[in-house]
């Protein structure tokens, strides 16, 4: 029996069409638009000015507080202006526009370094560098990694979980990274284990990535401390709480953190970024992005510089087909539909999904027939139909009592609803009001 979390979950068609495509390097973008708020928390503060020359990896915006992160220039070039650019929600946000210098060789250096296994830094130095080098969670939530690694005094960590689940349909960025950078990821795991002073790590991988599971099993054979766990294919297993439950049978308490059950979870992409930062002094400037869609000519995985406009990525796969009606940043379950393709790739962009006309429209919502399907699939044990009703009617206090804030917005409820009800839309709205109420208390 493969491990999984017991309550809820769905299995949408996987559509991992790019899983056999090696990660290619996207040509150097002419101009990058680097937003200053790419992470959860306080936006970074800009430390460069117009016409400044910047080197690759130079800090261009400095962390604005504890829960914040440095931002580094992904290219060598010139800051042309400090402007605004649309984010994934379509709102204009502050960004730094850098024209890349085509003559500067550092722009064309690939991140292919020889594997470096021995760790020369002390734990504190490692944590400091993770913070300095702008590492944030690359699974999508973009939570600054150093905050996650800061263990409170009263907590005892005993296990590092490395999230290689990639349960979102279509996306294969983590899968490819695991296949191509397996050794580096293992070194990254050792770095984290050393920094946190723990001797146990588990890599959780869903069973639809058998090659990655085999690869890691071979690489770790004989080595102690790092386990590889094959997981049943089920969405949203990549959710932190679900993954911990699946691997360790521990339940993160309501309003709690993984730390409360002695666990820290990091995505494989983050672990690789940490490896790069510690062993090769490379700050987080690029990431793997899957550009995919059923009708694309050549859907692929790319190494993409942060700040590259989405339209450059779409050009790299041969443009979007005629009947494209929706472009999603992220996977189909949790991704955000983009208003236009000027949006730049940020630290949290795991994929770009192009959806054609026949699948772009939502169904017409009908009355709830109380089939209970949403309750069955909710991995958090909530009652989505009830929460939607409460937030539709403005009964936010009641919704808070029904634990609306514990919703992880995985979208399983909207996915299964046979009446096509916009459950998550309303729940998200109820959550936002609920949070306001909560903070006013």
């Amino acid at each position: 029996m493969l491990k999984t979390f017991p309550k809820g979950g769905i299995h949408p068609s996987e559509n991992k069409i790019t899983s056999a495509k090696p990660i290619k390097r996207l040509p150097l973008p002419k101009v990058v638009y680097v937003p200053i708020s790419q992470h959860i928390g306080i936006p970074a503060e800009i430390v460069v000015d117009r016409k400044d020359k910047v080197e690759i990896g130079q800090v261009i915006a400095r962390s604005g507080g504890y829960v914040s992160s440095n931002i580094h220039s992904p290219v060598a070039g010139t800051v042309t202006k400090l402007d605004k650019i649309v984010d994934t929600r379509g709102y204009k946000k502050q960004c730094i526009v850098i024209r890349s210098d085509v003559k500067n060789e550092s722009n064309f250096q690939e991140n292919e370094y020889p594997l470096k296994e021995e760790i020369s830094l002390q734990p504190e130095e490692i944590l400091k560098r993770i913070s300095d080098y702008g590492i944030v969670g690359l699974g999508g939530a973009t939570f600054p990694s150093h905050v996650k690694l800061q263990v409170k005094k009263d907590k005892i960590l005993d296990c590092l979980i490395v999230n290689g689940v990639e349960c979102e349909p279509f996306l294969t960025a983590d899968h490819r990274l695991m296949l191509e950078k397996g050794r580096e990821i293992l070194v990254g795991i050792r770095i984290l284990m050393y920094a946190l002073q723990i001797d146990r790590a588990i890599i959780g991988i869903e069973n639809n990535k058998k090659d990655a599971i085999d690869l890691f099993r071979n690489l770790t054979s004989g080595a102690s401390g790092i386990q590889i766990a094959a997981l049943q294919v089920k969405y949203p297993q990549g959710g932190e709480k679900q993954l911990i439950r699946a691997l360790l049978k521990r339940e993160v308490p309501k309003n709690g953190l993984p730390m409360d059950v002695g666990v820290v979870v990091h995505n494989v992409g983050t672990v690789f970024a940490i490896y790069q930062a510690i062993q090769h002094n490379r700050p987080l400037m690029e990431r793997v992005v899957t550009v995919t869609g059923k009708k694309l000519n050549d859907p692929s995985n790319f190494w993409v510089k942060i700040g590259t406009p989405v339209k450059d990525l779409l050009d790299a796969v041969g443009g979007v087909p005629e009947d494209t009606r929706k472009i999603v940043s992220g996977g189909p379950m949790m991704g955000k539909a983009l208003k236009n393709t000027d949006v730049p790739v940020t630290k949290g962009t795991s994929g770009i999904l192009v959806i054609s006309e026949d699948e772009a429209s939502r169904g017409e919502p009908k009355n709830c027939i109380r089939c209970g399907e949403c309750v069955d699939v909710c991995p958090m044990g909530l009652e989505p139909h009830l929460l939607m009703n409460l937030s539709e009617k403005g009964m936010y206090e009641k919704a808070l009592e029904e634990d609306i804030l514990t919703c992880i917005e995985c979208g399983s409820c909207s996915y299964v609803c046979p009446s096509h009800r916009p459950l998550l839309d309303y729940i998200r709205f109820g959550k936002s009001i609920g949070k306001q109420l909560e903070s006013n208390k």
Partner: protein, 336 residues
């Protein structure tokens, strides 16, 4: 990109293939074997009753929505169709056509649309119609044509009582169970459907085929039907063991009186049953107990319709108190 503007919406951007229409049509499909058996047993009468119920349910839904409520009509969603079929299946084959029409009006008008339409009704509409007819026209509603093998003619002069009716009568006249058992059909006949009763409750076999199809298609879960039947079996079993001379054996109870039809098709109605599995079990146990109480101690020989309607009323309460367990609510952070 096409000249049409791109669509922006909240996630998720994919949806499962299941729609409420598909669920409804699965139910219709599941009722097909039962319908075929009823055609075989009751002939043209079953066809007339079913067609009348379907047409009048759809028609009333359309007319009420168009002229009284002035809302968009929803007759294509399949729910009125199911109400029609289930109503017909709960009626005796020879019932006058106008009564079916009245029953349909009550089922759709009172049972469903007066509450606000599909999804808002508290009671199973088909059962509302059926119970309305049962209390309004008790004579016609308990005039059961006796099935004759290969009966395809319009013979419905012969009427008899249902199995449970016979038992109730016998018990009232002070007969012992062994005397009564000579008058009622054998359990095999009851299983395949050669007894008297309403159109759709005859053949346990056909009903089970449909029910298992629904469970396999995940339209319904096994919790309600299995629990209802188990509760009926256990409760009647207890009485039977206590006094086999006075009470009928549980097998008879499970196979007769529409228990299977009710358990698989009426109690499982999505709208009027609880949302969680825990709630479903409670709901089903309630139905089982009330059914047995009505059958053994009430004035009606059969009780599942009333039992379901009574438990329907408790569904909001059950939903309120039997919630799914919230993730992380068990604070047992054990550190290994």
């Amino acid at each position: 990109m096409s000249d049409q503007t791109i669509i922006v919406s909240s996630s998720p951007h994919v949806h499962s293939e299941r729609t409420s229409e598909k669920l409804m049509y699965d139910v219709v499909l599941a009722l097909l074997p039962v319908f075929l058996v009823s055609l075989y047993v009751f002939g043209i009468n079953a066809l007339i009753a079913t067609i009348t119920a379907i047409i009048s349910c759809l028609l009333f839904e359309y007319l009420i929505q168009k002229f009284i409520l002035k809302t968009k009509t929803t007759i294509t969603d399949g729910s009125a169709l199911i109400t029609g079929i289930l109503l017909a299946f709960n009626l005796p084959a020879g019932i006058p056509v106008w009564m079916i029409v009245v029953g349909s009006l009550v089922a759709i008008g009172v049972g469903k649309l007066s509450f606000g339409g599909l999804g808002f009704n508290i009671f199973n509409p088909a059962l509302v119609g059926r119970v309305f007819l049962l209390v309004s026209f008790p004579v016609q509603m308990t005039l059961w044509p006796v099935p004759i093998e290969n009966n395809t003619t319009l013979v419905d002069a012969v009427t008899g009582a249902t199995t449970l009716g016979l038992i109730k009568e016998g018990v009232q006249f002070g007969q012992s169970m062994s005397e009564i058992s000579t008058q009622i059909p054998s359990t095999v006949d009851m299983f395949i459907g050669l007894t008297s009763g309403s159109i759709g409750e005859m053949s346990a076999l056909a009903l089970l085929i449909g029910g298992i199809f629904l469970i396999a298609r995940k339209v319904i879960s096994w919790h309600i039907p299995v629990t209802v039947l188990a509760t009926i079996a256990v409760m009647t079993g207890v009485f039977w063991i206590a006094d086999p001379g006075y009470y009928a054996n549980p097998l008879i109870h499970v196979l007769s009186g529409g228990a299977i039809l009710g358990a698989f098709f009426m109690a499982t109605d999505l709208v009027t049953s609880p949302v969680t599995k825990k709630g479903m079990v409670i709901f089903a146990i309630g139905i089982g107990i009330i059914t047995v109480v009505i059958r053994l101690f009430g004035s009606y020989p059969e009780g599942i319709s009333f039992a379901i309607l009574i438990m329907n009323a408790f569904v909001p309460l059950i939903n309120r108190y039997f919630k799914p367990r919230r993730f992380g609510s068990r604070i047992k952070a054990k550190i290994m």
